[in-house]
């Protein structure tokens, strides 16, 4: 039975069904690329969410940027591979003239569609300055950007008020770095503000041919593109929010590239689908347990240290990450400047030391609460079991995600006062600045829910964003993470992991070191 069944392809099954149905279906059946296996150079990939913003000046997530990378151009772009790096895209040359000035020269022949002509320095100035002008949420990516000077049609200088080193890795090659045609945006919006989901012109290797909300984004080659020819004629990006459904869709052949959930990884490794390559990339997120230093029960640093030393991170990774993620040494992920080789508190902790700290604090019968999102309940239960070993009774407070994400915010009521322990993670970008900046004193009651305060930390955070020497910068970030850990307010868990799989008969995938796809660099098999 199984042999007979497996011998019937989807095509023959559907055709038979259509014939049996009196030919009604067969007559109107479009041999859709959605149903049928990829034919020709069509790249079918999964995204985790649907797009909801195609204006790079106001972008809000990586799924949007994945599409922007295909339809717009930037001065620089990420290099695919296992090490972080960037290379020129629309820029012929780009250099740091001094700590606050970056000069660029555009390549000639980069054209906007719709008759908006060649990309010029005027367009660069418009694109970069509008985030500041319109107070876009993206303006933080530009640091202290003052303005862009135009020297001639192709040359300009990006001027900052103070040096801003993260620009090279989080701004120019990512979302905010995309260059729009000034004429096209002004024509579409009147004042140059957010154009939302209707790009007025394209300048990348692909055009947005169709967007069917919650179904797919369809990209086709841009005939005006003068850069290197991408490997596929068309790209179809299919949003599948549920990871398990995405895995089934891959197995069924509906997509040829997807991420794999950590708890499915072992089984896929053991029994990979045919012609499939599985890759596991280190993520750049940071996951940690935060401890509110202002809470009366946690004011004593010895109590906080007892908690730090009682938590066994590898055990947590086994429980909540299927043993597939590596232990974090801090908030800065491996591969980035400032990543520490090891944390001050060993990953396994030490129960004897934890008990000593608790004795020093003179605390007994301590009851605490850990707040987590509903998806992290298992992790919280593991911590509960671990803390019970030193006599701390931990209650697990599971919150719906929308509610959880405002727990420590002073602007959202009084809940921050009750917050004790919490587990969370932040997505990040490939620069250490964003793995540390949310823990400065100014962020207390905003994103610094630990309410951790350190003058030295604040000073280093401000300075490290301006230092271009990687070695010097790294030393500062090492010290900052030491300070975080010494405060007893943080127990670092992991930086996460990004497993993915793709069909080798369809493509050669190309990603950033963290597994983020770079579709322009995908090659056919």
């Amino acid at each position: 039975m199984n042999n007979i069944a497996s011998g019937i392809s989807r095509r023959s099954f559907l055709k038979t069904g259509a014939a049996l149905g009196g030919g009604v279906i067969a007559a109107g059946m479009p041999l859709s690329q959605v149903i049928w296996a990829a034919e020709g150079k069509l790249l079918k990939v999964r995204s985790m969410e649907d797009i909801n913003k195609l204006d790079p000046g106001f972008y809000n997530n990586s799924q949007n940027v994945d599409v922007m990378n295909c339809i717009y151009s930037k001065l620089t772009r990420y290099k695919p591979g296992s090490e972080w790096g960037w290379e020129l895209e629309a820029a012929e040359k780009i250099e740091q003239v001094d700590p606050t000035h970056i000069r660029f020269r555009l390549k000639k022949g980069f054209k906007f569609t719709g008759g908006y002509g060649e990309m010029t320095a005027k367009d660069v100035k418009f694109s970069f300055e509008r985030a500041i002008k319109f107070n876009s949420p993206v303006k933080v990516d530009w640091g202290s950007l003052d303005h862009v000077e135009i020297e001639d049609d192709y040359t300009g200088v990006i001027v900052h008020k103070t040096p801003f080193v993260p620009l090279w890795y989080i701004t120019l090659p990512f979302g905010a770095g995309h260059i729009m045609s000034e004429d096209a945006v002004i024509k579409a919006t009147g004042d140059g503000n957010d154009f939302g989901m209707t790009p007025p012109a394209f300048s990348g290797p692909y055009l947005l041919a169709e967007w069917k909300p919650k179904q797919y984004v369809h990209l086709t080659r841009n005939p005006d593109w003068s850069g290197p020819k991408p490997g596929f004629d068309e790209i179809r990006i299919i949003p599948i929010s549920d990871p398990k459904s995405a895995e089934r869709a891959y197995q069924a052949g509906d997509v040829d590239f997807t991420w794999v959930s950590l708890d499915s990884l072992a089984s896929f490794r053991k029994n990979p689908p045919a012609d499939t390559k599985i890759e596991q990339h280190p993520s750049i997120q940071y996951h940690w347990i935060g401890i509110n230093v202002d809470h009366p029960k946690l004011k004593d640093i010895n109590v906080r240290k007892a908690i730090q030393w009682a938590i066994n991170v590898p055990q947590i990774l086994d429980v909540a990450y299927a043993g597939e993620a590596a232990v974090a040494t801090g908030t800065i992920a491996p591969g980035l400047v400032g990543h520490r080789d090891k944390a001050l508190v060993p990953p396994e902790g030490d129960l004897t030391k934890a008990r000593e700290f608790l004795e020093k604090a003179g605390v007994s019968d301590l009851t605490l609460t850990i707040s987590v999102e509903s998806a992290d309940a298992a992790l919280a239960q593991a911590v509960q079991a671990q803390l019970s070993q030193i006599g701390i009774a931990l209650t697990v407070d599971v919150q719906e995600s929308g509610s959880f994400w405002t727990l420590g915010m002073e602007s959202e009521g009084e809940r921050w006062k009750e917050l004790q322990l919490f587990f969370t993670y932040f997505n990040s970008v490939p620069d250490p600045h964003y793995a540390t900046v949310y823990f400065v004193s100014d962020q207390v009651g905003i994103w610094n829910w630990q309410r951790f305060r350190s003058e030295r930390y604040d000073e280093l955070s401000a300075k490290a964003a301006t230092v271009s020497d990687p070695g010097e910068r790294a030393t500062m970030y090492y010290e900052m993470q030491d300070l975080m850990e010494e405060s007893g307010a943080f127990r670092f868990i992991t930086n996460g992991s990004t497993p993915l799989m793709y069909r080798t008969t369809q493509m050669q995938a190309a990603t950033r070191p963290d597994g983020r796809p770079l579709y322009n660099d995908f090659g056919p098999a």
Partner: protein
């Protein structure tokens, strides 16, 4: 009849208004912030304030309620917080997918369940009746999302006969993409409706007018289809009307598992992201659907049953 319709319209408007006002109150009671859901740590206090102002969340609750209903009367449901697209566009482009899923699910379920129920009633306590009873209870007991995942694994992954995800493009393609989701959503209803029809049929078949028909020598087929079924089907019609609400809830799971567009998944995602205008718009449409479905079921009942017609 017309008076009845007018009453239902007024009642429907009242239900929708109360539901929306209640929803607005709940939105205020539930903690969470759309800017935070959108940007996470990148949501600066200035941006959050800007977004709150844009959504009108900085205004008193009464003003928000008045603004919402004022916009509604002008046909303006507001804008999606994230994409800035009109909520009406966002909701109405998803709505057909949910409606087609619900209709196809319920139609195939009725098409299979009614004959099964009739047959079981006519062959009461036979082997087939008992077998149908066991299968019916089993299908009612299995949640639709379990059925969805199983169907997906068998027919899309193992056998590769049907697409695993999406809604398709073009008529035939959409029909093909509906097979698995509609099967998963409708199978429980096959069991439920067949049991309901069987019970009603047994009751009707024992009534005097049926005995009278038999005494006139009418064929069993004529008695069942012409006299018993039109009456036995009435409870089913009522249940289907109410069941639309239940199906809308089931649609959420089905839409997620099959990565289908649809209003169920849209509302769930909007609630998670605190995308309030979409939540309000989606709830408005689903409330309208439910009110319409229950009214329709009453009207169908009236068309089938003269006694019900007299009560209108």
């Amino acid at each position: 009849m017309w008076l009845y319709l007018l009453k239902r319209v007024v009642l429907g408007v009242a239900v929708i208004a109360i539901a929306e006002a209640f929803l607005l109150l709940m939105i205020h009671a539930v903690p969470g912030d759309p800017a935070v859901a959108l940007l996470g740590p990148q949501a600066t206090p200035e941006f959050r304030a800007q977004l709150h102002q844009q959504m009108g969340l900085d205004k008193p609750l009464v003003v928000q309620i008045v603004t919402f209903f004022g916009g509604l009367l002008r046909g303006n449901l507001g804008f999606d917080v994230f994409s800035q697209r009109p909520v009406a566009d966002v909701v109405f482009e998803q709505l057909p997918y949910t409606i087609e899923l619900i209709l196809v699910s319920i139609l195939w379920a009725v098409a299979v369940a009614v004959p099964l129920g009739c047959y079981s009633a006519m062959r009461r306590n036979s082997m087939i009746d008992q077998a149908v009873g066991i299968v019916a209870v089993a299908t009612i007991a299995i949640p639709s999302f379990v059925m969805a995942v199983s169907a997906l694994l068998i027919f899309a992954v193992m056998l590769g006969w049907l697409p695993a995800i999406g809604a398709g493009t073009g008529f035939a393609d959409r029909v093909i993409h509906l097979i698995l989701p509609a099967f998963a959503m409708g199978i429980g209803w096959v069991g439920y409706i067949s049991r309901l029809v069987r019970a009603s049929m047994l009751e009707i078949l024992g009534e005097n007018h049926i005995r009278m028909a038999r005494s006139f020598g009418l064929s069993e087929w004529r008695i069942v289809t012409g006299y018993a079924l039109p009456l036995a089907i009435l409870p089913t019609v009522t249940i289907i009307g109410v069941g639309i609400a239940w199906l809308l809830s089931s649609a959420v799971f089905i839409e997620v598992v099959f990565a289908r567009p649809g209003i169920g998944a849209l509302i769930v995602n909007a609630v998670r992201a605190r995308n309030y205008p979409v939540v309000m718009g989606g709830a408005l449409v689903t409330t309208f659907l439910i009110v319409t479905a229950t009214t329709m079921s009453d009207l169908i009942n009236a068309a089938l049953d003269p006694r019900a017609r007299e009560e209108l």
